[in-house]
Amino acid sequence: MVSLADHFKEAPPDVFRPVRLVEPDGSRAEGEVPTLDEAHQLFRWIVFGRVFDQRMISLQRQGRIGTIGSIRGQEASAAGIAMAMEKRDWLVASYRELLAYIVHGVPVESIVSLYRGKVPGPFPEDVRAMPIQIVIGSQMPHAAGIGFAMKYRGEDAVAVCCCGDGATSEGDFHEGLNFAGVYKAPVVFFVQNNGWAISVPRERQTKSRTIAQKAWSYGFTGVQVDGNDALAVYQVAKEALRHAREGEGPVLIEALTYRVGPHTTSDDPRRYRDEEAVKAHEGEDPILRLRLYLEKEGAYREGLQEEIEEEARERMSQAVEAVESAGAFTPEEMFDLTYARATPRVEEDRRVTLSRLSGGASS
């Protein structure tokens, strides 16, 4: 006989075991790996991501851009998910996925421009992406809507929605996943669990043993993946996208990674975490791991990483140069962009402001 106490027992241990295809020393774990071509492409993107991050942070230090969150150590997660996407898929993500935006086709200039405090300039017409979300978790219901809309129009496309572990505590995380589940919308939710939401560690964010298991309560699949293993993220993402694309419903991927840097350039993690603990994660560096893998597979050419870094630095300089030499941001754009057509009040603001700037009578 089942006693009432049995009903109150802790849930059985979950079965989640992060998918890993490559060990930190570069040796292969179990499972089918992507092709060497794909591995090379991933390597290019994650090395680019590292250079991008370094350059953005140095621009911030020089006062040339505003506050920015580092993506250091998380390159494999962002590149892995974005590289698995098709051009027709929508990216709905936040500031920790800047590399995903770039991989999905958003020009670096757009991102530099945004962080420089200019009107970002619209993403190119053929890039399907929502603007970079700053309000944590607010993008989740948007992805459910976009997924629903694509299904409604009979499109063979998926919405990929990224957030961090902190976002999983937001009400909109619940509402977004719940809507996607109810409508069986083609959405892949991708949570980069980097262990920290500014100063609050993952275990203070939720008592769930994993974030992936939350998918179960919405009636769809959840998968954990080693987020520092670019090949594993890519492979899992590919399968999740196939699953959603073929009408089998949403998927939640939890990518286990680590925020080795501060939350943003305005944050001092020494106030809340032991830097010794961070050192323990240095051996998980996704770039090193993938390079060791390529070496072990006999597919690494001496000097390749340095070459990619050099190209990336040049690409960054070009982008920064383009943004800095572009004309100054004028307030006009703000008045143009508030509504599809400016209202009388906005027009009045424009008139008064422009007159003030030209030293006119209304100044």
Binding site: V92, F123, V135, P141, A149, Y152, E175, L337, T338, A340
Partner: protein
Amino acid sequence: MKRNIVEAVNDALACALESDHDVVVFGEDVGKNGGVFRATDALQDRFGADRVFDTPLAESGIAGFAVGLAAYGLKPVAEIQFGGFLYLAMNQLGAQAARLHSRSGGRLNIQMVLRAPYGGNVKSPDLHSDSFEALFSHTPGLKVVMPSTPYNAKGLLLAAIEDPDPVVFLEPLRLYRTFREEVPDGIYTVPLGEARVAREGSDVTVISYGAASPTALEAAETLGEEGVSAEVVDLQTVSPIDASTVVASVQKTGRAVVVHEAVGQLGVGAEIVALINERALFSLLAPVERVTGWNTPYPFAEVEHLFVPSKDMVVRSVRRTLQPDEV
């Protein structure tokens, strides 16, 4: 055909669904049940459950889901069951819907309508009677539309659905079924951002909108019997406000009374007084009066009739503007 406001809303939704496959209608209980006020009655049967459907019980989710549909390019028309529950959707409206056009550098138009009944005097529980138009009017990027008759309810809703910006469409709950008037079949629009002169007059301008608009008209009738000629301006759209119509009328009459049900402090009435101050101050013969709800939470049902502006309150305010020295 003669229709009341809720029938006019239903007809507008049917016209939009009929003419444009991109229009989808959803919210809590809007499917089979046809909405708790029957605004979506029979629409699911007519247009199918993929175009008219129920959502989970989640206002932020509804608004955020609508944002996603609109970002993609559909034309979502969502219902929030009661205006008071809009608090739950504030982030998606204020931080997302309102800002995505600018945030995307103009690439995205968030062409969505969020409908909600608002206003009191129908003995509802807490948060079922509030008037939140000022909250949304204080948010650049949103438009706020508030019909007052069956005719303008249908025309404004059809205009809102075709408007490229996100619209909060607040329907006067207690007027839903109070009267019928001729509402044409088929599509017609009443332009957003334009007030209407609901009654012409020459002594005083009574500015109102939504549920308070019939109250303003009744007051004007009573004043007419006393020989006072009151002009009644019905804003129809609260944001963007039609300043020219308000200012022109006040310049003509020299007196103004603003009437709304929402709390007075920092409300739409305050904005109108400021507008008059900026553009028609020297036409004024008396201070502008405001008749509004109290600066309290919406009251419990036994005293709500004292909170909602009444005809007598409007009449008294108008009389004060006519004889300012006697106050």
